[in-house]
Symmetry: C2
Subunit: 205 residues, 2 copies
Amino acid sequence: MEQPVRKRGRPRVLDRDVGLDIAARLFWERGYEGTSTADLTKAMGINPPTLYSMFGSKEELYRQVLDFSIVRENSRRLEILRSNLPIHEALGLYLYDIADGDTQPDKPRGCMVSTAVLQHAEENASVARMTAALRETSMQTLKARFDRAVEEGELPAQTDTDTLARFYGAIIQGMSAQACDGACNARLKRLIDLALTAWPGKRSA
Amino acid sequence: MEQPVRKRGRPRVLDRDVGLDIAARLFWERGYEGTSTADLTKAMGINPPTLYSMFGSKEELYRQVLDFSIVRENSRRLEILRSNLPIHEALGLYLYDIADGDTQPDKPRGCMVSTAVLQHAEENASVARMTAALRETSMQTLKARFDRAVEEGELPAQTDTDTLARFYGAIIQGMSAQACDGACNARLKRLIDLALTAWPGKRSA
DNA sequence: CCATTATAATAGTGATCCCTATTAAATTAT
DNA sequence: ATAATTTAATAGGGATCACTATTATAATGG
């Protein structure tokens, strides 16, 4: 039970994590360029200088939102992936978890990262690099898991794990786009079930 | 040989189709919200009132750009799809053509429609509906082709053609996203080759 | 030449963009 | 109480947003 140590000075009116959560929802729903600082301060119930003293700038806030959201959402998925379940089964659960994230009832549709800032004004190139780097990292994580499966004999030795990772990465990105367009959870999972039939070591009909 | 009929009045300084082509490249690269009317007028070499007299508004210009680009780019793809080639082969050529479009040397990366306006400010909801409708139409086109293949006995009678269409739609969207992130043509085609192994009537290993 | 017609250029509009200099308020320490 | 400290609120800055009222220009028709 840690007592929130009362320091001297005027008390903060907004908890940092609450602020990040509010910002996450706005950026998630409207994108970086579609969310104004006025939107953010209004939703957080603060004035502009408070936002800037807490988070630095709009771009820095977005960076913190991504960190915050990834730490909170990604650990469960990585556990699934890194488990000792058969690779095909682990992948299925991993994708199902992402489909659930794309279609949460009281949250924006799609994924905050998979389809974020693909197009942008030149002035926002650095923000685009942030999300692109996160996408690349998540595909490298998938590839590393497939490499492990090859080592452990679960996948054929000659498997192109990079292409396999980018294929399921494309599925993840496509699911996010379709969720943004209104696709329901069941539809995404049918899509996953079909995607899981593209798997090395299968014979053609 | 039709002579460009000289009408009276001051001559236009910008051909309409040239203007649409310039606008297409900007919207394609930067997205709707990332492209300002100042960007557009500067690139076209015109002043704001000329843009508004030619195209009506930024939103109306975007609509015309989509019409213009689709008419120009989509007919070849639809011919491939509607040809009498075996369905699996036609689908492969169709996807290859899209991969080529995603990675043209002197054009923006990715697809103008597949991953456009997924997130947006509330005020741009009508623009988002435009691109979403185009995506839905293109998936319905795929589904119709798969339905035909079922009728013609190329696909099993019980094939879930809707899911099949949305699966390859997801591949198209994922390719666009990855092209935006810098994926080359060959990488996209490896992805396609793998996606084409997810096909009804195959036996699991 | 002059009138008519069609389009372009000038010069802005109010609103909103991201951000901040300055001042006010709310707490603890003495 | 008063001082010290920390945060919030007021008020607005310069730039850019999408857009337009007005004026100027360049062609043809008579």
